[in-house]
Structures are given as structure tokens and as C-alpha cells.
């Protein structure tokens, strides 16, 4: 799971008659940030910096910054390659090298990238990480993924085991376990590998920045409660979450990005505008949806277009919470640095149990006044997908609003069937219309 920051779908890029491209400041800022990070990684060795890789859910960016690591997020690398139509051959390269066709394609895209000469999505070198910070949060595959990278390409793994919220809450023993691991295993290992001594005050400073950015991100996402929504809470939100879910949470640059973004979105809201799409302003909000599950990256634009062409806006999504759930009040807390890092990891979306996931979706359906739920079930991802059909049934039962199910994959283009998805969506929108007619709402 991750975010496509950096390779944003440029507005108007796919229209037949070229229009003036409206790029808002936040987009440029975001693109610059992401490209800068790839450049940082490419030049890390020559600048004597060590490289850390870590996953988006349970991403301990502020902590890694305390040790001056350049930071690589392997899911983001995979999806960036997918957006650039490169992931198919990377996946196949990994399969030729012995990986099963059945397993998560993020893993295979990552392995394929190393096998094909360690070049990152922007074309600059992406060297092998010195440390694989295995924040084992909400996904079993993470563990095997970094074991595989270590096995094939070297580097040291550092495990942070984040227990699952099986009974829907963070028990003190769970938090203590994570904090203890940070103190006794993770921090000493990062000190040793980086040669930098840990300074908790430095961590506090970063966490202060995180808090500010989180505040603004939540404000942005919650503008979708308005009608019309000024944002798309799924296709658009994957850009918004880019910096905060990756190598920038805790940096002043991220704080600035979210400040600018918020101002822009609030201006759209005041102007009564809908979301910005790759083809300019949204044609007009007809359907408001909540989406569960990650997007497909290989056909991201086509996929998005299927929604806005029909007048659909996603007002809230669970995917935009994979790298942290902030909209129910959680913030990183400089007064309790390690504890709040632990709580952050424990609270990531895929670390929530089923009842919590269902409650969250139902709450979104109400708070964002959605017409229904759409599940995009991802072949790669057991963590998200196993049991989604029950989520769908329960949400339908509890809200009385229609739900639909489509299937695709993250970065393997072989599993995207545009015709199937379009048909499903069309019948789904028809179902919503019929429901409205039956209820006398037009």
C-alpha cells in the first residue's frame, strides 16, 4: 500500500482538445518534494548518507530522520513504476526469478527493480538500502518482503512487531511492547548502523511538525463532507497523502505543503467548486461514494476517469488511512514521543480489526453523506481483501445503502479489466439512481 505522490496525473493531460492546464501550487510543491527525495536517495552514497527502507503503514519517518537516513518507501517505488507503465515487466522479471504468480505484486515489482539494475522510477539510481526497518504493521507480507530483499540483495533487517488490534483497542501491553522494542531493539540498531546517537529532543521537534501537517491533512480530507465536495477523497487523496505517508512526515517542507494545500482546497470550497481531475474541474457531483481498498496504479487515470465521467466523487476512503488514521483525533505527540509512535503504528488502518473497519466505513457513509460503498478488491493484498465481502454485506445491512464490488490489482497490469470494471460501475450507478427514485429523491 502506498501513495502516488510525485507522479501526479497532470490536469488536462488526456483531453483531446488541449486546454490550459490548471496546476495549483500544492501540486508543484508535492512533485518537487517527491523528486527531491528520489534525488536524495540517488546521491546518498556520495554524500556519505545511509539509506533506510521502510513500509508506509507503520512508517517511522521521524525516527529515521533522527539518524540522518535517506528514506525509501518500497511500496511507493512500486506504484511510481506502475504509474509510469513500468511495473509489468518488473513483476514478470521477479516471476522469472522464482517468485510465485500468486503473491503480492508490490513485492515482485520491488524485487524486479533491484534485479533490473537498481534504477528508481525517476530514472535516477536507487541504491540498495543499508537497513530494512521492518515495521511489521497490519500486513504479514511485509515480513517476507524484507526477508526476501535481505536474502537476495543484502542489508540488515530490524524488526518492529506491531500487534494486531484484535479486540478493537490498544491494550497497554501492546503499546508497552512496541515502545520496548523501539527502545531496546530498534533505536540501538539504528544508532549502530548510522553511527548517529539518538536524541529524543530532535525526535520531539519532528513530531511537532508532524502534528501540524496532520491537522491540515484532516481538514483537507474533511472538506469532502460538503456538497459538492471540493476534493476526491480517493483518487485525489492519494496525492494529498503522498508526503505525509512517505519520507516527509515531520519535515517543515511537509508542514508547508499541507498549509498550502489546505488553503487551496478551502478556496475551492468557498468557490463552490468540485474536485480537480486530470481533465480539469469535475463535471459535477452526481454520486457520492465511500471506497474501501487500494486503487489500481497501472491504469490509474483510466480508472479515475470511469468515476468522474459518470459524475461520481469519492468522498471518503479507507485507503487514504493506510499510513495513519488521523481523522478520529490521533496526533503524534512530542510530549510522549515513543508512545505516540507506537500508537500511530497500532492505529494504522490495516491493523484495525473487522468490527473497527466496518464501523469506520459506516461512519464515513453517514458523516460524508455517501450514496453507497464501493469495494475495490486487490488481488495482491490479503490484508485488505480477505473478508471484504463480509464488510460489504455488513455495511449494506447497517446503512441500508447499496454496495458494489470490483476487482483489480495494484501494479500488475494483467489484472485490470477495464470493460468489467466499467460495466460494474455503470450498473452500480444505476442501482443508486433506482434507490433514489424509490425514495423519491432526485
Amino acid at each position: 500500500m502506498s501513495t502516488p505522490a510525485g507522479s501526479r496525473a497532470t490536469p488536462a493531460a488526456q483531453t483531446t482538445t488541449p486546454k490550459a492546464v490548471v496546476k495549483e501550487d500544492a501540486m508543484w510543491l508535492q512533485k518537487a518534494l517527491i523528486n527531491r527525495n528520489y534525488h536524495d536517495l540517488a546521491t546518498a552514497r556520495e554524500r556519505g548518507r545511509k539509506i533506510a527502507a521502510t513500509f508506509v503503514p507503520g512508517n517511522l519517518n521521524e525516527l529515521l530522520m533522527c539518524f540522518d537516513f535517506a528514506r525509501s518507501l518500497p511500496e511507493t517505488n512500486a506504484l511510481q513504476n506502475a504509474l509510469r507503465k513500468r511495473s509489468g515487466k518488473l513483476v514478470m522479471e521477479a516471476e522469472r526469478d522464482g517468485q510465485s504468480e500468486d503473491v503480492c505484486t508490490y513485492v515482485k515489482a520491488d524485487i524486479g527493480m533491484f534485479l533490473q539494475g537498481e534504477v528508481g522510477p525517476t530514472g535516477e539510481p536507487l541504491p540498495r538500502p543499508d537497513v530494512l526497518l521492518l515495521s511489521y504493521t497490519g500486513c504479514f507480507t511485509f515480513m517476507k518482503w524484507f526477508e526476501l530483499i535481505r536474502h537476495k540483495f543484502g542489508g540488515e533487517t530490524v524488526m518492529l512487531h506491531v500487534p494486531y488490534q484484535a479486540d478493537g483497542r490498544i491494550r497497554p501491553a501492546m503499546r508497552d511492547y512496541v515502545v520496548k522494542q523501539l527502545r531496546e531493539t530498534v533505536i540501538p540498531a539504528l544508532e549502530r548502523i548510522s553511527g548517529v546517537k539518538f536524541d529524543i529532543d530532535r525526535l520531539r521537534e519532528y513530531l511537532k511538525e508532524s502534528q501540524k501537517a496532520e491537522e491540515d491533512l484532516v481538514a483537507v480530507l474533511q472538506t469532502a463532507k460538503h456538497r459538492p465536495s471540493p476534493i476526491d477523497g480517493y483518487f485525489g487523496a492519494v496525492y494529498y497523502i503522498g508526503p505525509i505517508f512517505t519520507a516527509f512526515r515531520g519535515t517543515p517542507e511537509a508542514t508547508e505543503y499541507y498549509r498550502v494545500l489546505r488553503a487551496e482546497i478551502e478556496a475551492r470550497l468557498r468557490a463552490g467548486k468540485g474536485p480537480l481531475t486530470p481533465e480539469g474541474d469535475h463535471p459535477g457531483e452526481k454520486y457520492r461514494l465511500v471506497v474501501e481498498g487500494p486503487p489500481n496504479w497501472t491504469h490509474f487515470r483510466d480508472f479515475w476517469k470511469m468515476f468522474y465521467d459518470e459524475g461520481a466523487v469519492v468522498v471518503a476512503s479507507t485507503y487514504s488511512k493506510v499510513g495513519g488514521v488521523y481523522d478520529f483525533g490521533f496526533r503524534h505527540d512530542p510530549a510522549r514521543p515513543l508512545e505516540s509512535l507506537a500508537e500511530y503504528c497500532l492505529g494504522c488502518y490495516t491493523n484495525l480489526n473487522f468490527a473497527q473497519r466496518i464501523d469506520m466505513i459506516c461512519r464515513y457513509m453517514d458523516d460524508y453523506r455517501a450514496d453507497g460503498l464501493l469495494v475495490n478488491s486487490i488481488k495482491s493484498c490479503n490484508s485488505f481483501s480477505a473478508g471484504q465481502l463480509l464488510i460489504l454485506r455488513e455495511v449494506e445491512k447497517r446503512t441500508g445503502r447499496p454496495a458494489a464490488f470490483i476487482e483489480s490489482d495494484l501494479v500488475d497490469p494483467r489484472y485490470f479489466s477495464a470493460a468489467n470494471i466499467r460495466n460494474r460501475l455503470e450498473s452500480y450507478f444505476q442501482m443508486i439512481r433506482q434507490k433514489r427514485l424509490a425514495a423519491g429523491v432526485h
Partner: protein
């Protein structure tokens, strides 16, 4: 007891998807509870100490028609969760008062939440195990998990579970572990006397029988297998790995053997061999279980290997200590743990010059011919290799 009778009894238990043995045990122990558990490991000692029957569930096998279960899963998810749900939704698991879902993969993790929703009257616990093996860190967390399981079950039983109860249960399971270790050693020494299709059934019987009875059964089988001479064949000796969760059909195990392979070690029903040594029967019993888990347990793909050089240690030891000539990777389709682990293990084997072959199965795989052929070719190539 005659060998044929023992095997027939195990087979009947294996085929019984109504769990009559569990129902009979409950009828004979009024008020006592039965607790189901899924692969890969749960501390059955704690269930036993609460006066309950731990019941191992390994899906529905190839005899169960899965209808309702399929409605909950996409085609790209393995089969064991859907057949397990089918068992639950068709009320075959009504004899169970609770379910434990160990931390093995995201499919079983999510199934724990589905179970909470679909069976709200049952006790359901997702049983987390530490991936940090330091006593003061992962050990402390795990001890807490063990204590919370003990307290939950005590509440369910309506009586406390004392340290003495736990020590008694540890002793009962130590006996069982010894018997199962002997069974594995016997099969490795004389695989023609203890075919894996039988050994497997004996293990599976331990999923529904009380531990004391299962230990006797293993001992009876060993005595009977020893006393019944059978012809020794010129088979290749192989370790089978990857089948720790969703199970291959019995016919598949038989096919491998018929194709000319003696399976001399495997990872079937790992719960019975998870702890590789006796657990101390004195001192704090939860500490003893926690330490055994952290330091005296087997290696499998649902666990983290701290160092690169740890990868494949157990598999290599199996090959070496059992005198195996090759490895068969048999993994359920769509099983992330087994399939992500496989290339690493294969690489370790390749570096040690150990031949291997690999295939996938589902618990309801019906076509045995391709697997028989593949196993046959593998056995032949091993023999050619050793002859050369």
C-alpha cells in the same frame, strides 16, 4: 490393537466432518467446553488446563462441498478459510464453544474478525505471538498474551486455572511431544514400515482426541507398525515442506508415496511438534511456555528470521538428520507465507546441492496424475543422481 484397526480408527476421525468425537467427549464430560484452533500453533496446554478439549481445525478437506463459504471469498484467496467458514455456517462446529485464530497470516487474522461477526455467541480470540525473541521484550508481551488466554478460559470454564493445572497439562503435552518425536524418528528410520499416509492420519487424530488418548494412540501405532513387516522399496527419501496450513488431500500424500518417494520429514500438523523439546514442568508455567516458544520452537514461514543466515536452518537440519535426498515444496495455491518463503528456501537448498521440486495444491485438488508424475520424475532423478 491391530495396525489396520488403528489406521481405520484414525481415518474415521479424519473423515468425520461432524466432529462426533468432540460431541462424544462433551457428552461424557457434562459442562466441559471444547475450543477450536486453526493452524499453526496455539498453546494447547492452557486449554487443557482449563478442563477443555482443544480441537484442531484444518479446513474441510476434499469431501466438503463449499457453498456458503465461497460467497465470502474472492477466487484468489486460498481455500481453507472458506471451507472452515462452511463448517461453521453449516453448524458442524456448534460443538465448539470458542475459536482461537493464531497469528499465521492475514487471511486467518481477518477470519478471526469475521468469526466475531458471524458467530457472536462464541468466544473468539486472535492469538498473537511475538516476532521479537528477547525474553524481556517479546517474551514479556507473549507471557501477557498467555495470561490473558488463561484468564479468558478460566472465565469461560467458571473456575480458575491454577499453576498446578498448567504444570499438569504441560506434562501431558510433553508426553505427547515425546510420542510424536518417536513416531517421526521411527518413520525416518524405516519409512516402509510407517507410510506417511498413515502417520498423517495418526497426527490428525490428535486434532480431535484428548491428548492422553492421542499419546496412547501414537504409542499403539508405533508398536503395531513395528510388529507388521512390510516390503522395503527402493524409494527416494524426501522432506515435504510448505503444507503447514491448508492441507493437501490424503490422496495427494498417497500419490507422492506411490510415485516412489518416502516422506521422511514434513511440516504437517506442526502444532504437535512446534515446541521441539520438553517444556519444564516446574517453575512458572507461563514463563516456561513463553521461553519454549521463543527459544525451543521450530522455524516456519509465519515466523521472522532475525538473520539472513538463519533462513532454512530447520529445513537443512531435517534433510541432514533424516538422511533425505531431496525436498518437495508443496504449498497451497495463493498462500503468501509458503510461497514467499519458498524461493529463499530453494536458494539455500541449491547452495547446499540438495535437489528439490515444487508444486501447488488446494485442499480439494482432484487431479493426482500430474503430481504423481512430477514426484515420480523427481524420485527417478534423485536415484540417477545418487547412482552417478
Amino acid at each position: 490393537m491391530r495396525l489396520a484397526d488403528i489406521v481405520a480408527r484414525c481415518e474415521a476421525l479424519f473423515e468425520d466432518l461432524e466432529f462426533r468425537a468432540v460431541r462424544e467427549w462433551k457428552a461424557a464430560h457434562p459442562g466441559a467446553k471444547a475450543i477450536g484452533y486453526m493452524p499453526i500453533y496455539v498453546p494447547r496446554e492452557i486449554v487443557h488446563a482449563a478442563g477443555m478439549l482443544p480441537v484442531g481445525l484444518f479446513g474441510g478437506g476434499d469431501q466438503l462441498e463449499v457453498i456458503q463459504g465461497d460467497a465470502y471469498y474472492q477466487s484468489y484467496i486460498c481455500r481453507i478459510p472458506r471451507s472452515t467458514l462452511e463448517l461453521g455456517l453449516t453448524r458442524r462446529l456448534d460443538c465448539l464453544d470458542g475459536m482461537l485464530f493464531p497469528s499465521i497470516c492475514d487471511v486467518i487474522r481477518n477470519l478471526s474478525g469475521m468469526w466475531q461477526i458471524l458467530f457472536p455467541d462464541k468466544y473468539v480470540k486472535y492469538f498473537d505471538v511475538p516476532q521479537n525473541y528477547d525474553d524481556a521484550v517479546g517474551g514479556a508481551f507473549y507471557r501477557h498474551e498467555l495470561a490473558s488466554l488463561r484468564d479468558d478460559l478460566a472465565r469461560l470454564a467458571g473456575r480458575p486455572v491454577s499453576d498446578d493445572d498448567l504444570r499438569g497439562s504441560i506434562a501431558a503435552y510433553n508426553e505427547n511431544r515425546r510420542a510424536v518425536r518417536d513416531l517421526y524418528a521411527f518413520r525416518a528410520a524405516r519409512p516402509w514400515q510407517a507410510p506417511t499416509a498413515e502417520v498423517y492420519l495418526v497426527l490428525r487424530a490428535g486434532c480431535v482426541l484428548p491428548v492422553e488418548e492421542h499419546t496412547r494412540l501414537v504409542r499403539d501405532y508405533l508398536a503395531a507398525a513395528e510388529a507388521t513387516p512390510r516390503p522395503k522399496r527402493d524409494n527416494a527419501r524426501v522432506v515435504l515442506t510448505g503444507a503447514f496450513c491448508e492441507q493437501p488431500p490424503l490422496a495427494l500424500i498417497k500419490s507422492i508415496e506411490r510415485a516412489g518417494c518416502y516422506i521422511v520429514d514434513d511440516d504437517f500438523v506442526l502444532v504437535q511438534r512446534w515446541l521441539v523439546e520438553d517444556v519444564p514442568e516446574s517453575g512458572d508455567p507461563l514463563d516456561a511456555l513463553a521461553r519454549a516458544f521463543l527459544h525451543r520452537s521450530t522455524q516456519t514461514s509465519s515466523r521472522y528470521d532475525e538473520k539472513r543466515e538463519d533462513k532454512g536452518r530447520t529445513l537443512l537440519a531435517q534433510v541432514k538428520s533424516r538422511g533425505a535426498e531431496g525436498v518437495i515444496f508443496a504449498a497451497p495455491s495463493f498462500c503468501d507465507p509458503a510461497l514467499l518463503e519458498r524461493p529463499m528456501l530453494q536458494d539455500v537448498l541449491a547452495r547446499h546441492g540438495i535437489p528439490y521440486t515444487a508444486f501447488k495444491y488446494a485442499e480439494n485438488t482432484g487431479q493426482m496424475a500430474p503430481i504423481r508424475e512430477q514426484a515420480g520424475t523427481f524420485a527417478d532423478s534423485i536415484k540417477l543422481w545418487t547412482a552417478a
